[in-house]
Symmetry: C2
Subunit: 155 residues, 2 copies
Amino acid sequence: MTGSDRTLRGFVGYGIKRAFSAIQSDVNATLAPFGLRMLTYSALAVIRDNPGLRQTQLAEILLIERPNLVLILDELEGADLVVRTRARDDRRAYELKVTLKGRRLCDRATEAVAAHDARMLEGMDESMRETLHQALRLIEMNGRSSDDRGKVSRP
Amino acid sequence: MTGSDRTLRGFVGYGIKRAFSAIQSDVNATLAPFGLRMLTYSALAVIRDNPGLRQTQLAEILLIERPNLVLILDELEGADLVVRTRARDDRRAYELKVTLKGRRLCDRATEAVAAHDARMLEGMDESMRETLHQALRLIEMNGRSSDDRGKVSRP
């Protein structure tokens, strides 16, 4: 007997989970030579796109909880890829910027991640990729409106 | 400044991650009333589909590492949903079965998960759902062949 996951295979959520597992191991293998992993690369790329970004904004964009964010930023700061400075207009807030080293590493890592992403999409034509993209955005939005309903019904 | 994730938005991997986060929180909220979470429900559903399944097979089907599997099975056994018995033909192996309570809970939870899954798919017509399903299977397979290449190049 080999065993089957037939009940779970009926759910799109299970398909998303398995696709995400595949992507996660491949992207982490892709990023290891740069001393990065999925979450540290994501944070680095967002900071590079938004010089002066606040920590709280980064956490919101990447949907990361505070303790996890602190670990990620410690890792990026320890590797001299990112600097944290106090905001001029709010001394309790921190602003984030990439260093020159951080920008260069981010750009090289982004090329490698683009190649990984292309590998994951192999066998799909343009129209299938576009539909996949739209479907994923819809799921994300459906999740958000489900959250909102939850907030209303569980005050 | 609100900040943007424009570099990451170009990657399908990022879309998958965000869709997975949305699904994960919604399915965990769905399963909480049953005393289950995504991983314990998945294990319960696979055991229910395959009476007598070995622990090692369950780990392979769900791509779970051994320490995590032990925690999940302890949780299911502690709640009297699953029983572990030694295999007759191999005293070192364990066979898994759902209890009557486990089967009933699994069936009710599966109905709730099906409703959650339908919520996540809202706004998609049949053809979009089918394309999404195919695209996710392709990503999973692309990840697997990427693993195999890795095994060859890193002996």
